[in-house]
């Protein structure tokens, strides 16, 4: 195809992915999306893992600048630590996009999976299934940016529906998260027998809650609503009698692809827009069962809006093989 500069010579183009978080399925899937789209473009990709060290992540941006890369994707991080480094990259003439971190820079487009919408859609489904007054348990750990944004949706929904009662709020990031959350959820279910809905807006939380619900023998009485999805989550949702009713997710691999494509547009002097939103999809247990979906690939084929988002796709853009 006719590729705009600099992609007429893609092997001369280097892009860097500077990550804040890397451990876990979501981040692994995101990375695979980035890799696939980069390969489709034929550019050289360098990955910097700061392993949840925000200061190091900022340094890594500087390092990428020193290496002379053409474009940088910033994946997660802390606004305060990152905004200066991002500004330096822009000053050095490097194109930058940021995924799920606000770097407070008009020149840097935001790729977002809209955590607020994730939470909101899941709760709307909960209200649809259970009516607008129920007693809920809520899993939340403050201080984790995406969870904080999903938390706002919970607050809003609670305010709009006074019938929703929050019986207990709990949560922990102790590793392995699902196991620790299961222990807590057991205690909560024991103490608050009137809970009928569990809102666990992170799939590790939901997994833990499901274990606790199963162990307490309450699978029929409780519905779990969550965010994010993975192959393992799909099988957990589809277990016979599973309490996990629905989850809302964007496909992390798609978000990865979109990140690279937006960056590529900028390199070709096109404008992807100040905000690139990858819309989330509602996935219900019923849908999974009806379509006999066993993994992420099958989910993609049965739910095209999940498999690829038509976001940042100019006509010249080569797409990964599907």
């Amino acid at each position: 195809a006719d590729m705009p500069a600099p992609f007429d010579n893609p092997e001369k183009v280097t892009i860097a992915l500077v990550r804040y978080l890397s451990t876990g399925d979501f981040f692994q899937a995101y990375l695979s999306g980035v890799e696939k789209q980069s390969a489709a473009l034929g550019v050289d990709l360098r990955v910097f893992d700061s392993r949840q060290d925000a200061a190091l992540q900022a340094d890594m941006v500087d390092q990428a600048i020193a290496l002379g890369v053409d474009g940088i994707i910033i994946q997660h991080g802390l606004t305060e630590a990152m905004s200066d480094a991002a500004q330096r990259a822009v000053e050095a003439g490097i194109k930058v996009v940021a995924f799920d971190v606000d770097v407070q820079n008009a020149k840097i487009p935001q790729i977002e999976q809209s955590d607020y919408m994730l939470g909101k859609l899941a709760l709307e489904q909960a209200i649809k299934d259970n009516g607008d007054s129920f007693t809920a348990g809520y899993v939340y750990v403050a201080g984790i940016a995406p969870l904080d944004r999903r938390h706002i949706a919970w607050e809003d929904v609670k305010e709009a529906n006074p019938g929703i009662k929050e019986a207990a709020m709990f949560g922990t990031m102790d590793n392995p998260i699902a196991n620790s959350v299961a222990n807590q959820a057991r205690a909560v279910l024991q103490g608050y027998s009137d809970i009928t809905v569990m809102f666990a807006p992170y799939d590790e939380f939901a997994k833990g809650v499901k274990i606790a619900v199963d162990e307490s023998g309450l699978s029929d009485d409780i519905d779990i609503y969550s965010a994010d999805v993975s192959t393992a989550d799909i099988s957990a949702m589809r277990e016979p009698g599973s309490a996990w009713a629905a989850t809302v997710a964007t496909n992390p691999a798609v978000v990865g692809e979109v990140s690279v494509r937006s960056l590529a547009m900028m390199l070709a002097n096109e404008d992807p827009g100040a905000q690139v939103i990858v819309p989330p999809t509602l996935i219900t247990q019923k849908f999974l069962n009806e379509n006999d979906i066993k993994n992420m690939e099958e989910l993609g084929t049965k739910m095209p809006q999940f498999a690829h988002a038509d976001v940042s796709v100019p006509s010249w853009m080569p797409l990964p093989k599907r």
């Binding site: 890397s22 451990t23 876990g24 399925d25 692994q28 750990v141 207990a168 709020m169 709990f170 949560g171 922990t172 102790d174 590793n175 392995p176 998260i177 699902a178 196991n179 620790s180 299961a182 222990n183 807590q184 057991r186 205690a187 909560v188 024991q190 103490g191 027998s193 590790e204 997994k207 274990i211 199963d214 162990e215 023998g217 993975s230 192959t231 393992a232 799909i234 099988s235 957990a236 066993k294 993994n295 992420m296 690939e297 099958e298």
Partner: protein
Amino acid sequence: MDNDKIINFAIKYGFLILLVGLVIFFSVASRGFASPRSAVFILQSVSITGILALGVTCTLVVDGFDLSIGAVATSSLMLSAYSMVILEQSAFVAVVLCLAMGAFVGLINGLLIVKFKVPDLLATLGMMFLLIGLQRIPTQGNSIATGMSLTDGTTAQGVFSPAFLWIGRHRFDLVLERLLPVPVLIFIAIAVGIWIFLALTRHGRLMYAIGSNERAAALVGTPVKKYKVIAYMISGVMASVGGILLAARLGRGDIASGNNLLLDSVAAALIGYAVLGAARPNAFGTAIGALFVGILLQGMTMLNAPYYTQDFVKGAVLVVALVFTFYLDARSSSGGKT
């Protein structure tokens, strides 16, 4: 003297009294805390850290330390998932593989320490990093679940066998229907086993001797190196049992660091020093220590205390209980100052 008697009583039973006090407090403050189900929940929630803690107790007895247990547990979690889901092996093979892996890691730790004279903290820290990396290499950092896509383009067809899940999930009837989960039974069995081994057999006695004066133990003809290696192997096997139970409970091979498993089980083993005024590592104390942490967390969760207050209270109670034990112990045994 009367005073001495009180102090001795306090040292010996202070911690257990605290435990009973906590139970009473939670039973009053939170409906649903005092019930057989709740008791079983607590046991279940501490069974995995408890088993790890019992393993680390064995290394503490020979004056060692095993920082790698958390990583061994998560490695065993990944390995069991890998062997069932990707290699499509049976539950039996998975369990055997994990136990063998745990024993092997323990063997390597032990050899590093006794043969190559690497200090224990160092050897097991290195092993910890090594395992954290190693367990992620086969799946490139992905969790393992049925249906996951493999590098060769196919999807993983294996499943967690029901027999394997049974280990983590089955519950026996006892008084109430479906009351007693398998992990709790395993925990109790291991606690009793390790307690008998350490407190009642000559092997345990020799291990305590090694921990107290290694040279002296060697000079009476104790095979010191062998016992030390065995202690690390027990620790490795216990950690892998913990990992198996974790896998059976989660039903998938989750990527996890195991750092919290390490810290919680070390905490349980160390709290064990305070039980019955032992002031040294002991299996009964470790089991009680694990239980103590479990009761505290269960009770506080039921009172809707946020997770960070749980850490705070855990730390505070730990410090207070231990100051109590060790301070009184030091005072009563030295008569005067020092």
